[in-house]
Symmetry: C2
Subunit: 389 residues, 2 copies
């Protein structure tokens, strides 16, 4: 792999409100966010040289599979330029960010727009579950819940047996992220939870209760990446993309770990950043236990060490290494293709010191991680971005 020719900055963008907008078409959800992103950064459509749209289920759930990029961007005035829809399950949005980063880092463009957008709710809930199930190469095995929750539960049971975690630890994660979401006015779920309430909630599949799992949520986020030169010329400031690492899974398993772990290793190495340098992380937590596995895959602590982090409150706002200060997938919500783009913007705002009540004091290095789909026992795809001030 060649060395990048120039540094890439996150110039800014916009995150729409995440929530259940069953009656709204995806254009109504996404296009205003594109306009907001341009206005926030102070650019016009003429500045944008190319666009990537991350979306996982536009065909299955929004009736638009093949020209979604144009359908969502044209009403915001983006025409003529190269644009396309990128599919990589939950990491569709973060892969779109990676492709935009690549196009700038290697000198093709100087200003690229990334939209992540998803309409996940559907009048017929079975359609939503069927779409999610298609993000795996597993045969469908569950009714009335996402196939991913079966896999999450199995991992949680293995983790409990191996490291002594209990459902209480998972409940603490859910409570922590809901408290974070309470500070995020764009989050889908903001009403406070208690550990007792989470544990007493309806069982989805043991040890997961409903309050430990994310629901079906719609939303959009739009980020604009620029070259350092472009930023200088236009008087823009932004956080630096220190690493954009993406990998596919290994279906038959892998002694090195998993896709997230491999993406993290590559990201730290290419950025010259150690896990101990990370000030804040947004990770892929479709269920609460997965946040602990991610933290360990990302080497933010040793294997099994995430249990102590939870008990100590280290991953809470104000703790040593705050994780999912946005509320994460379970509370901010997970409109699939939008999530990876939103993560980048959440980290960007934190590094800029503009996160208000949710600000992590002195945040200098932020990490955003997504894992998409399932391929055998591994994620089909995983992405790790490192951002610095």
């Amino acid at each position: 792999m060649g060395r990048p020719a120039q540094r890439v900055l996150v110039a800014g963008g916009a995150i729409g409100r995440f929530g259940r907008f069953v009656d709204q078409p995806l254009t109504a959800i996404a296009t205003p966010v594109v306009r907001d992103a341009l206005a926030t950064v102070g650019l016009t459509t003429k500045d944008i040289e190319a666009a990537f749209v991350g979306n996982a289920f536009g065909g299955a759930l929004a009736g638009q599979e093949s020209i979604l990029a144009q359908v969502l961007l044209a009403p915001a005035g983006l025409a003529r330029i190269p644009m396309r829809t990128v599919k990589n399950a939950c990491s569709s949005g973060s892969d779109a960010v990676h492709l935009a980063w690549s196009a700038i880092a290697y000198g093709q463009y100087d200003c690229v727009l990334v939209l992540g957008a998803e309409k996940l709710t559907h009048g017929d809930k079975a359609r939503s579950f069927a779409a999610l199930a298609s993000a795996t190469d597993h045969p469908p095995q569950s009714g009335g819940r996402s196939v991913f929750m079966d896999v999450n539960a199995e991992r949680a049971n293995t983790y409990m047996a191996r490291y002594g975690a209990t459902p209480m630890h998972f409940a603490k994660v859910a409570v922590k992220n809901r408290a974070h979401a309470g500070l995020n006015e764009r989050a889908a779920e903001r009403a406070p939870l208690t550990v007792e309430g989470v544990l007493a909630d309806k069982v989805v599949i043991a040890p997961l209760t409903r309050a430990m799992c994310g629901g079906m949520v719609d939303g959009a986020a739009c980020v604009i990446l620029v070259s350092e030169d472009f930023a200088r010329r236009r008087g823009l400031t932004g956080s630096v993309v220190a690493a954009s690492s993406v990998v596919s899974g290994v279906p038959e398993g892998d002694a090195e770990g998993n896709a997230t772990h491999r993406a993290a290793q590559a990201a730290y190495e290419s950025a010259g950043i150690a896990p101990s340098d990370v000030s804040i992380a947004e990770v892929h937590d479709p269920s609460a236990p997965q946040e602990l596995f991610d933290i360990e895959d990302l080497m933010l602590c040793p294997r099994g060490g995430a249990i102590a982090l939870v008990d100590e409150g280290a991953t809470s706002l104000g703790g040593r290494i705050p994780v999912n200060v946005s509320g994460g997938l379970t509370s901010r919500g997970h409109p699939v293709g939008a999530t990876g783009v939103a993560q980048i913007l959440e980290i960007h705002e934190q590094l800029a010191g503009r996160a208000g009540a949710a600000q992590v004091a002195g945040a200098k290095v932020g990490l955003a991680q997504m894992a998409g789909g399932l391929l055998g026992r591994d994620s089909a795809f995983a992405t790790v971005h490192l951002l610095t001030v």
Copy 2:
């Protein structure tokens, strides 16, 4: 837009048989073609640094929308590396080629694989038509035929009124391309046609008869692009990608022409190649009349001049500027995401002098054009590639 850092070569690849494989899953259609491509070029999966999969309707018609790249490539042994599915309607495959070209031309990678694959047939034919209709931002308006044929017919009627073309000219194009397909053992439709037979065939929508229109076809094609350095190190030869130009449409119309015209202008300019230099072209002809419009949009002749080219046989094999020597979309077949990739390989084989009975003598500059979807009156996306020996 920055200048490319290195030249990109088409190292080779493989095209599968195009046809109606209603009972075969997309993996059975696509994965063997990936293996063939690697074997043909003499590379292994370890040589491939990244992959792009072009597909338009995998969600709607093959039940796999969000991780199709991994599902099709993993069985061929491609894991770990970055891969994703790219959606841009009929130009999904050629946009995937563009993204692979970009990644090499600007120095990110040296060896990238592109798979174009589509399962377009479906037990329920209405599903196939509904999927095609979703490649537009138009409300569905036709029953029992592709919405694109309505647009093609309208354009054909306008063209006849303006330039004096008759249905006979369209029939001649269909006959010519079917004769070409007779030389292509991978083509979907090879039985010879006559002008009288085409004109007497069932009317789809006037002036289009069934024999002027492509049918629903499945298929896959896989091309491997490499940097010039990589080719030298590995003893590979190949045609040079002299231009890879992609643009989105302008929904409200455009005085400059249309997406194909704009993509062509950019391609000629960046390659320093004139339309008169082109020896052979593969163009996007979902119906026979569209081939004439493409030829003119590509400036291979003046407006209205394609009529004379047809009458003179100039676009036939042996003529001055052979077009769709593969058989084109109507006869070779148009498995949507696969077509743009197949075009690149058809041109590549011609430039290498390996096209056998279909060889265009002295072919030195080849052009491949695709247009994807509809956005208002324009294509949603268009791609023009120029290849040279």
